[in-house]
C-alpha cells in the first residue's frame, strides 16, 4: 500500500482554470476502509493508464447520505445531498464515476430531484466505455484461465439493471467466468445493504454473507469478483468464516484489470 499515486483535486483544477473530463467520486469506503482503499488505488491507476483527465473532491467530498436514507433519516440524507450538490454544482460537474454502487445509485437517482443532475457511471461501466473507445487495454495476463465468479451488487444489478458491464470486463481478462446459481436479477444480497453494514444483524440462524459465500464457493472459484466495497468486505468475511482464504480471493473488477497488467 505504501505508494503515492497522483490524484488531482477539483480545487487544483479550478485554480488552473481547467475542468476535468470526469469527477471520480471516491466515497467513504473508498477513502477510509483499508480494503477499499486498494480498490480506489487500482482504479486510479487504470484512469492514469487510459489517460483519463479526472479529479476528486478530496476533503470537499462528504457521505452521499445513502446509509442515512436507507435507515430512514431523510433529514440527514437531504442535508448531505444539498451540501454535496452545492459543491459539485459550483465546480460545474457534468460527469461522475464511482467505484461504489451505493454512491452510484444515490448520485444517479436521488440527487436530480434535489438539484444535482449529473451523468453518473459505475466504475465498471466507465472502464467498459474506455475499453470500447480503445483507451484502455484489458488483457488476460496473470488471471488467464482462472475460475472467477461475479457477485452482483444489489445497487448495481437489481437497483439499476447493470449486469453486463462487469462481466464484459471479466471476459476480456480471458478468465473462466462461472455464474452462481443465483445471479443477475436473482442474485442474493451480501447482507450489507440498507445500512446493515453499520449494525449487528437481527437474530436469525445464519448471517446473510455466509449464505451468499456458500453460493459463491459452490462454483469452486479461484477468485470471487465484486463491484462494491461493502460486498467485498462481506464476501471476504464469508470466505474467512469458511476458512477458504488461502484458496479463494475476493477482488474488485478494477483490481483484477489493474493487477493483470501489473500496473
Amino acid at each position: 500500500m505504501s505508494e503515492t499515486v497522483k490524484v488531482p483535486t477539483m480545487a487544483e483544477y479550478m485554480a488552473e482554470g481547467k475542468k476535468p473530463e470526469v469527477l471520480f467520486w471516491v466515497g467513504c469506503a473508498g477513502s477510509f476502509d483499508d480494503r477499499a482503499k486498494k480498490i480506489t488505488k487500482a482504479f486510479v491507476k487504470l484512469l492514469h493508464n487510459a489517460n483519463v483527465d479526472f479529479a476528486v473532491l478530496g476533503t470537499e467530498e462528504s457521505c452521499t447520505g445513502d446509509p442515512a436514507k436507507r435507515a430512514g433519516n431523510e433529514f440527514l440524507f437531504q442535508m448531505q445531498a444539498v451540501t454535496n450538490i452545492e459543491v459539485m454544482n459550483a465546480y460545474e460537474i457534468k460527469k461522475v464515476v464511482t467505484a461504489c454502487p451505493h454512491c452510484f445509485n444515490t448520485l444517479k437517482n436521488e440527487y436530480p430531484v434535489l438539484g444535482g443532475d449529473y451523468e453518473v457511471m459505475h466504475h465498471t461501466q466507465f472502464l467498459k466505455s474506455l475499453l470500447d473507445e480503445g483507451r484502455l487495454k484489458v488483457e488476460g495476463g496473470k488471471f488467464k484461465g482462472k475460475r472467477i465468479t461475479f457477485h452482483d451488487p444489489c445497487y448495481l444489478g437489481r437497483a439499476n439493471n447493470v449486469y453486463e458491464a462487469p462481466r464484459d470486463l471479466l471476459r476480456k481478462l480471458e478468465v473462466e467466468l462461472v455464474e452462481m446459481k443465483r445471479c443477475k436479477r436473482n442474485g442474493l444480497c451480501c447482507g450489507a445493504g440498507g445500512a446493515q453494514m453499520f449494525k449487528e444483524p437481527e437474530p436469525g440462524n445464519k448471517d446473510v454473507n455466509v449464505e451468499r459465500t456458500e453460493d459463491a464457493l459452490e462454483t469452486k472459484p479461484d477468485i470471487i469478483a465484486a463491484g462494491c466495497p461493502f460486498c467485498n468486505t462481506m464476501m471476504t468475511d464469508g470466505v474467512k468464516s469458511k476458512e477458504k482464504e488461502e484458496s479463494v480471493q475476493v477482488m474488485d473488477v478494477a483490481e483484477l484489470i489493474a493487477n493483470a497488467q501489473d500496473l
Binding site: 482503499k37 478530496g58 442515512a68 436507507r70 430512514g72 436521488e110 444489489c154 440498507g194 437481527e202
Partner: protein, 441 residues
C-alpha cells in the same frame, strides 16, 4: 308460475352483483385513505407493463412449474367465463343454450370450455398438492397459519367444485340430448364430459333433468358466491393485478422517493436569510405539522394500499428475501398482509362509526415490529420477484422513517453511524480532512 325460475334467477343475480359492488366500493374507499401520489405519467409504459405483467403473466413464468399451471388456471378462468354470459341470458329469459344457433362455432366453444375446465381442475389439484402434500416451504411460513392457509385451500376447493359442476351439467345435458328430451336439442361438443356418461346409465329423464338443473343452478350460484368471497380473501388479485401493475413504480428500483416535506425544512435550514424565530405569515395557516414516515395505514400512499389488497400471498418475495432465508423475522409477504389486515380493520371501524375512531392500535408494533423492519437489506429481491409489481420495500422504508424521524428509535449502531455522518461526513469516525490521505499511504 312459469316465470318463477326467471324471477328467482334475477333476484340471485342482483343480490350477488349488488353485494359485490358494495364491497368493491369499500375497497376503493379504503385505498383512497392513503396519501396522494402522482402516477398519471408515462401512460404508454404503464399500459405496456399491465399488458406484459398482468395480462401476459411475464413474471409468473420465471418459476416455470407454478407459472405454467397458473396460466392454465388463469386462461381457463377467463375463457370459461364466456359461458357465464350464456348462463345469465338463459337464466333471465328461461332459454336453454341460447348461443346454440352458432352451430359449429358453438360446438367449438363448448368443446374448448370443457377441455379448459378439465385442465383447470388438474391445475388446481396440482396446486393443492403443492400446498398440502409437498408442503412447499413458502406456504408454511409462520404468517400462513390459520386463516391464510385455509383461505388458500378454500379457493382451490371452490374451483374444483365449480369445474365439476360445469362438467356434470354438460354430461347430463348430453345424455338428455341423446335421449331426445324436450328443450334439450342437440348442441355443443363434449370432449370431456362424454366420459362421464356411463355414470348416468339407467337414470330416468326426470332424474337427469333434476341433475342438470341442479348443476346449472349450483354452478351459477357458486360463481356468484365466489365473486363475493374475493373481498374476504387474498384472491382480489384476479382483479387488482391490472391496476396494480399499471400504477407500479417506474423509477429504477434503487431510487427511494424524495420526502417533499423534508426538502422544505432543509431548504429553510440552509437559507441564511431565514429567520428561525419569525412568526408564520398571516396568510399561512399553521396546521398540524406534517408527520414524517408511516406508523399506520393512512400515512402510506394509495399505491401502497392498493399493493396490500393486490397481494395474493404467493410468498415469492419471502422466499427470495435474504433476511427471511437466514432466519430473521422479516417476511415481505407479512408486511403486505399486515398492511391489508390493518387497512380492513380501519375500514370496518369507519363503517361502524361513520368516521375513524381511535382504536388505540396502529400498523407499527400492533402488526409490524421494528425488529422486522430493521432486518431489511433493501436489496429489492422482493420487489424484483413479485409477479404483480408490489413493493414491500417502500412500506418498510416509510416505517423506518417514522421510527427514526418521529421517534428517534433507530438501533444504537445506526445512531452512531448517523452521528458520524453528521459530524464528519462519513459513517465511520474519520475526519473529513483525512479523506484524501489514501493517495499517499
Amino acid at each position: 308460475m312459469q316465470y318463477i325460475p326467471n324471477i328467482l334467477f334475477i333476484l340471485v343475480l342482483i343480490a350477488g352483483i349488488g353485494y359485490f359492488t358494495k364491497n368493491v366500493r369499500k375497497v376503493i374507499r379504503n385505498i383512497r385513505l392513503g396519501k396522494d401520489v402522482d402516477r398519471s405519467d408515462n401512460k404508454g409504459e404503464r399500459f405496456k407493463n399491465m399488458a406484459m405483467i398482468a395480462l401476459g403473466q411475464s413474471k409468473m413464468v420465471r418459476r416455470p412449474v407454478a407459472g405454467i399451471l397458473h396460466i392454465v388456471v388463469y386462461l381457463g378462468f377467463i375463457i370459461i367465463n364466456i359461458e357465464v354470459l350464456e348462463i345469465i341470458i338463459d337464466g333471465i329469459f328461461g332459454t336453454h343454450r341460447i348461443f346454440a344457433f352458432l352451430g359449429g362455432l358453438y360446438d367449438f366453444l363448448i368443446g374448448a370450455f370443457e377441455i379448459l375446465a378439465f385442465l383447470v381442475f388438474v391445475g388446481v389439484v396440482l396446486f393443492w398438492i403443492r400446498r398440502n402434500v409437498i408442503k412447499l416451504k413458502r406456504f408454511w411460513n409462520p404468517e400462513m397459519k390459520g386463516w391464510p392457509k385455509n383461505d388458500g385451500n378454500f379457493i382451490l376447493y371452490f374451483e374444483m367444485v365449480l369445474m365439476t359442476l360445469f362438467l356434470v351439467m354438460n354430461a347430463s345435458d348430453l345424455q338428455l340430448q341423446t335421449l331426445g328430451a324436450d328443450h334439450y336439442s342437440k348442441a355443443g361438443a363434449y370432449p370431456v364430459s362424454q366420459f362421464l356418461l356411463p355414470l348416468f346409465d339407467g337414470m330416468s329423464e326426470t332424474a337427469l333433468i333434476v341433475l342438470e338443473r341442479t348443476c346449472w343452478w349450483l354452478h351459477i350460484i357458486g360463481i356468484l358466491v365466489f365473486l363475493n368471497y374475493l373481498y374476504f380473501s387474498k384472491h382480489l388479485h384476479i382483479l387488482l393485478a391490472f391496476p396494480n401493475t399499471y400504477y407500479g413504480d417506474l423509477n429504477p428500483k434503487g431510487e427511494l422517493d424524495n420526502l417533499e416535506a423534508v426538502t422544505k425544512e432543509v431548504q429553510l435550514m440552509m437559507d441564511p436569510s431565514a429567520d428561525p424565530f419569525a412568526a408564520p405569515a398571516d396568510d399561512q395557516q399553521e396546521g398540524e405539522p406534517e408527520k414524517f414516515g408511516a406508523s399506520d395505514v393512512a400515512d402510506l400512499n394509495w399505491v401502497q394500499l392498493l399493493n396490500a389488497y393486490t397481494c395474493t400471498e404467493c410468498g415469492r418475495c419471502t422466499s427470495e428475501c435474504p433476511a427471511n432465508q437466514t432466519g430473521k423475522k422479516l417476511s415481505p409477504r407479512k408486511i403486505m398482509m399486515d398492511t391489508r389486515d390493518r387497512l380492513k380493520e380501519v375500514g370496518d371501524n369507519i363503517d361502524k362509526n361513520g368516521s375513524f375512531v381511535d382504536d388505540g392500535k396502529q400498523l407499527l408494533n400492533d402488526y409490524i415490529t421494528p425488529e422486522e423492519l430493521w432486518a431489511c437489506t433493501s436489496c429489492n429481491a422482493c420487489v424484483e420477484t413479485c409477479p404483480v409489481s408490489i413493493s414491500p420495500l417502500s412500506i418498510i422504508i416509510d416505517m423506518r422513517r417514522y421510527l427514526v424521524m418521529e421517534q428517534s428509535a433507530a438501533p444504537s449502531d445506526l445512531n452512531n453511524m448517523m452521528t458520524n455522518i453528521e459530524n464528519n461526513g462519513a459513517p465511520w469516525p474519520f475526519n473529513q480532512m483525512d479523506r484524501l490521505n489514501w493517495s499517499n499511504e
